[in-house]
């Protein structure tokens, strides 16, 4: 029972982290049909920016609670700047090109952004433990947990709720859905698709940055951060169904829990399990477990 609860919590915590990052990836894919490899860099940039400023402000004697503000600010600033610059500077000129070629372009961007981090922040790892230290720890199911890690679950739930509300309860969501389903029809119905693209990309980038910024206090923020996370989010997005927020949620939960289970019970398969699930889903349900409905053909 203790183990069960622990695995569940570990799994959910990992799922939450995966979800925040993958939500951004899947939104960008859904609307723009771009599988953005550079998303891993948004994550890394979010983490670096947050860690850098949390450290700086802490040195200046600001209260540690500022850290939470910085996390949010870092995500927004990173998303706005990187999202805008990349979409307007590069991707905009590629929309008429082959889908796969755009993936490759984002791979090139990924390589570039990784090294710019190195040049901008140096090689020394950053620590931003203040927000985590502030929240202390609790005992749950026989083991001590840091409260900060648990808030990750709440943040993920908020992101999910926010996305759901935006998509289903607002005029914006209606338009977004139209573009997601068919870009050309979106244009024909008068939707300013270029603007939708720019905003979507920025929004997705903010989520990627938020994933990094929020996780930053719990890790040592060091170069190479984005390489791992991007394939993991690919797995999540593929398992759930590319372009679906609900899919990203389900995908995160499946992969997060499976991984936690593996770490506890069979540590050797921890890495393998994630990608095996991805491959199996692709083989049997290439559209993902949460494939969106299709209209009748006749």
């Amino acid at each position: 029972m203790e183990t069960f609860l622990t695995i569940l919590l570990d799994g959910l915590q990992f799922s939450s982290y995966l979800f925040i990052v993958s939500a951004g990836l899947t939104i960008i894919f859904g609307v723009m049909k771009i599988l953005n490899v550079a998303h891993g860099s948004f994550y890394a940039w979010g983490a670096y920016t947050a860690a850098f400023f949390i450290g700086k402000f802490s040195d200046m004697g600001m209260p540690d609670a500022m850290g939470f503000l910085i996390i949010i600010a870092a995500a927004i600033v990173v998303g706005l700047i990187l999202g805008f610059v990349i979409e307007q500077g590069i991707l905009k000129y590629m929309y008429h090109r082959d889908e796969v070629l755009i993936v490759l372009a984002t791979f090139g961007l990924f390589l570039v952004l990784e090294d710019i981090i190195l040049i901008a922040f140096g090689t020394d790892p950053y620590f931003a433990y203040q927000p985590m230290a502030l929240l202390d720890s609790v005992e749950l199911g026989g083991i001590i947990r840091d409260v900060y890690g648990l808030t990750l679950i709440a943040v993920a739930a908020l992101v999910a709720l926010g996305c759901w509300y935006l998509l289903n309860k607002t005029k914006w969501g209606t338009l977004l859905k139209a573009v997601i389903y068919d870009r050309e029809m979106g244009i024909s119905m008068g939707i300013n698709v270029p603007l939708v693209y720019t905003l979507t990309f920025i929004g997705g980038a903010i989520l990627g940055g938020l994933g990094g910024a929020y996780i930053a206090p719990t890790i040592s923020v060091a170069p190479g951060l984005g390489t791992e996370v991007i394939v993991l989010s690919f797995a999540v997005v593929v398992v759930g169904g590319m372009g679906s927020i609900a899919g990203a949620a389900i995908g995160s939960i499946i992969i997060g829990i499976l991984r936690a289970l593996a770490v506890h019970e069979l540590p050797q398969v921890e890495l393998f399990v994630v990608f095996a699930v991805m491959a199996v889903v692709l083989v049997f349900r290439p559209e993902g477990l949460f494939a969106p409905a299709k209209p009748r053909k006749i």
Partner: protein, 430 residues
Amino acid sequence: MKHNYLARAVGLAAISAMTLGAGSALAKDAITIAVPSFLTGGAAGPFGIPAMNGAKMVADAINAGKLPAPYDSKGFGGATATIEAIDEGGGATKQVAEYRNLVEKRGVDAVVGYISSGNCQALAPIAEELKQFTIFATCGTPRIFEEAPRKYVFRTMGHATADNVAAAMYVKEKYPDLKGYTGINQNYAWGQDSWRDFDLTLKQIMPNSMASDKTQFPKIFAGQYGSEISAMSLDKADLIHTSFWGGDLEAFIFQGNARGLFKKKIGVFTVGGTAAYRLGKKLPDGLVLGARGPYGILVRDRDSALNQWFVNTYKNLYGTYPSGPAYQYGQAILAAKIAYDKAGSDASDEALGDALRGITFESFSTTVEMSLGGGHQAVTENGYGITKYDDENGENVVTDVKFYPGSCIMPPEGVNSVDWIKGGMKGAKC
């Protein structure tokens, strides 16, 4: 500062290229030493950069003839050495390709460095193939000199067996009632060897303590250990062994500390030394801390002239006390000087090897005996201590430091580490 450093490295590379182009006279007045270390990736800050700093500081002092006696002669056999900084990141295969370039394209005179055991293991046969005088500075897997005899490859510090046998002995002395132990180690040669040696030694010397059946081997540079920490928290074992180093080490300490892991369990950190200066108050008290030998925080107060020169010069140059990697790289550069002094600056790779093989020399913090692996593998003492934050001075110190002589913690010549431990560590002189 690091940017300066990069610019300087590029500049030096250019200069060295020109010197090479100019053609070298018979008795060289300039040599090029390639120094690979982690300049990128999570291991750079805590490990790679201090290591490179140590190498550069010692090389500069040697070039200027400013090392304390007996090393106060100018240069490497009289020649001025240019240090070429090489990034060790990117995996063993990339390093192999890069090493071939270093030797065959850039024509460096010596290669001194390498932190990762994976890289050393991959490069040892290549160095032999290319007949290139190479000193491994820090990497720890014992396999390098146990798998095959080497002619051109040396290692100037003890290997993983020494770290972990010493750790086990220290644990036995400090915690004689230990019931069980588990471990978290990276899933490559270094982590696997470290755990194996520690586990086997404890089985020998503390047969009543039980090893956990769920030891963790996360991928190197994984960075997030939430589930692993939970799993170890639930484990009955009361001690956690880890050979984590660099960024992984620091991440693990943070995450474990936030979750009270080190309040419930004894932490044994065989490469923990680097964290002591970097983490300050964030390093929990009561950890069993090693530095892979008599280096860094464990030997800060040793008052030999060489050691005081090392500590003070480093502090002045880089604003912090030197950690293990700085010592280890400095020591390897020193060994290169000794070899060049003996063999001459224009010596062949063979002659340099002959000069270093089997010798004993006084290094900054300890005596190094090149007595294993046919005179290619160093033996030194190794020590452990317990961390404690010193509120008065605002820094970490280690208490209860205990050193074990090299002959006590490393197998005698010709015996493989694992067999030696399994056989009850025969011939150990403690």
